[in-house]
C-alpha cells in the first residue's frame, strides 16, 4: 500500500531523517515509536507531502507520489491527523468536518463519526478554536475520517490528553482497525497500546530506523532501550 525507499528529508539545509525504508501493507497498522525530536513528525510530513524529500521515493498504491502536492495525496485517500491538531480556529466544528469532506466523494458527514465522538454533534456550531485540547483532537480525527480514507496518518493522537478521552480515542483506533479496510501509520509512545493495536512496529532514533519487528515478536526491553532518555 505504502512504500518508502531510502527517504531523506528535513528543513532547509539540515536533514532530519535519512535512509528510511518502510512498508505498510493493506489493512495493516504500523506504529512508529521514538524519543522526542528524532524525526517522527518529519517522516509523516514527508509522507503527506508537506516536506519534499531530498532523496528517495514515496510510493502509494503502486504509484510514485514523491512530487505530488498534499491535496493530491489527500484525494488519493491519505488522511492526516497532525500532531498539534491544526483545527481551523474560526470555522465551526461542523465546517471543520465539511473541509474534511473535500478529499473524498462523500457529500455528507457520516453519522458514524458522531457515534465515535458524540461531543462533536453537540458542539457542531461552536468555533473549533473554542474547544478544549481533547475535543480538538477528537475533531481532528473525525475530520480525517469523514472522507473515508484508505490510509490514515496519526501523529501522537493521545498526546497530552486526559485519560478517559485517551481511552475513547484508542477505542476508535481499534474499531477502525477491526471494522474497516483502512491502513494506518500511528506515531505513539505507549508501548502497551502499540502492542495491542499494531501489526508491525518501527523505532526511529536520530532520524533513522533502528529497530523493526512484527508486533507479536516485540521484546519490550529492546524497545525501551531506544525510548529511554
Amino acid at each position: 500500500m505504502l512504500k518508502l525507499a531510502d527517504l531523506e528529508a528535513g528543513y532547509g539545509e539540515s536533514m532530519v531523517i535519512r535512509n528510511i525504508d518502510l512498508e505498510v501493507k493493506e489493512n495493516q497498522v504500523v506504529c512508529i515509536m521514538g524519543r522526542n525530536g528524532v524525526g517522527k513528525t518529519t517522516l509523516l510530513k514527508t509522507i503527506m507531502g508537506i516536506i519534499s524529500p531530498k532523496k528517495g521515493e514515496v510510493n502509494y498504491q503502486g504509484n510514485d507520489i514523491t512530487k505530488k502536492r498534499p491535496s493530491f495525496r489527500a484525494k488519493q485517500g491519505i488522511g492526516y491527523v497532525p500532531q498539534g491538531r491544526e483545527i481551523f480556529p474560526k470555522l465551526t466544528v461542523y465546517e471543520n468536518l465539511l473541509i474534511g469532506l473535500e478529499a473524498g466523494n462523500e457529500k455528507e458527514v457520516n453519522e458514524k463519526v458522531y457515534e465515535y465522538f458524540p461531543i462533536l454533534k453537540e458542539f457542531r456550531n461552536r468555533n473549533g478554536g473554542d474547544l478544549s485540547g481533547g475535543q480538538q483532537q477528537q475533531l481532528a480525527i473525525a475530520r480525517a475520517l469523514v472522507s473515508n480514507p484508505s490510509f490514515l496518518l496519526l501523529d501522537e493522537p493521545t498526546e497530552g490528553i486526559q485519560p478517559n478521552i485517551v481511552q475513547d480515542i484508542q477505542g476508535v483506533i481499534k474499531d477502525i482497525k477491526e471494522n474497516s479496510q483502512t491502513s494506518m501509520i500511528l506515531v505513539e509512545q505507549d508501548l502497551e497500546f502499540v502492542k495491542s493495536v499494531a501489526d508491525y512496529v518501527y523505532v526511529v532514533d536520530h532520524g533513522s530506523i533502528v529497530y523493526e519487528k512484527a508486533a507479536h515478536e516485540i521484546d519490550d526491553e529492546e524497545v525501551y532501550q531506544y525510548l529511554s532518555v
Binding site: 503527506m48 507531502g49 508537506i50 502536492r69 498534499p70 491535496s71 489527500a74 484525494k75 492526516y80 497532525p82 491544526e86 481551523f88 480556529p89 474560526k90 470555522l91 465546517e95 465539511l98 473541509i99 474534511g100 473535500e102 478529499a103 473524498g104 475530520r143 480525517a144 472522507s147
Partner: protein, 300 residues
Amino acid sequence: MTDLMVTLFNGLSLGSILLLIALGLAITFGLMNVINMAHGELIMIGAYVTFVMQNIFINYIPEQYFDLYFILSIPIAMVVAAAFGMLMEVSLIRYLYKRPLDSLLATWGVSLLLQQLARTIFGAPNVGVKSPSFLEGGVEVGSMYFAYPRLFILGLALVCLAGIYLYFYKTGNGRRVRAVMQNRQMAECLGVSTRKVDLITFAIGSGFAGVAGCALTLLGAIGPTIGTNYIIDAFMVVVVGGVGALFGAVAGAFGIGFFNTVFEFWTNASLGKVFIFLLIIAFLQWRPSGLVTTRSRSLD
C-alpha cells in the same frame, strides 16, 4: 439641524464610495496579504468598461434602451476586472505570495502598464460617461437634497457587502477560502486545492474593483490615472479597518468618510484631507492593527 443632517449624509455617502473602492482590496490585501498596487487600475478597467458599454449602446442599440447600458455594465465590469485579476494572479502574483516587497514593485509595474494601455486605446484626456436617466436628479427633503447617484452608490456598496458576506460565510467556496486563510497547510492536507482558492479569491477581489470603477463613472469624468486617485484611500480604509478583518473595512470606510466630511465642513477640502491623515496616523499609533483585529495567517 439641516447642516448636521447634510453633513451626516455626505459622510455616509463618502463612506459608501470609500467602501466600494476598498471592498476588493479588503479581499486581496486584507485577506490574502497581497499588496496589489494595480488595484486602482482594476478600478480604471471597470470605469472604461462602462464607457465602452455606453458607446456600444449609443451606436448599436435603439435609444429607448440606453439606460440599460449601466445596469449591464456592473456585472460586465466585474467579469472583465476579474479576468484581468486572474491573468495577474497566474502570471505574477502566484510566484510572489511570500515576497511582499517584490509583489509591491511588480504590481506597480503592472499598474503603469495598464495606465499606458488605457492611454493608447482611449487617449490621454478624460472621457465622460453619461449617467442613465433614472439616476439623474435627486430627492428633496425639506431644504436638503439627496442626489440619486449618491443614493445608488450607497445601495450598491451595501449590496456588494451582502454579496461578499453570503459568499464567504454561506457557500462551499467561501468556506474553503476561510480554511485556507486560517491554516493553509492543513487545508491543503485535507484536499483543498489552495492554488485554485488563491486564484478564485484574487479574481473576486479584482472583480469588486471593477464594480467600483463602474460606480465611479457616476461621479465624474474618467481617465487613465483614475486609479491612482483612489488607491491610497482604498489602502487607508483597509489598514484602519484592520488587515485581515474583512468587515473592518466597513468601519474604516464609514469612519474615514464621516470624519473627512466633518473636517471639510469645519475647514476646507485640502485642510480637511490633512486633518484626516493626521487623525489616521494618530489612530494607528493607538491601534496599530486597526479597528477590528483578527490575525490573518494566510501566508504562514
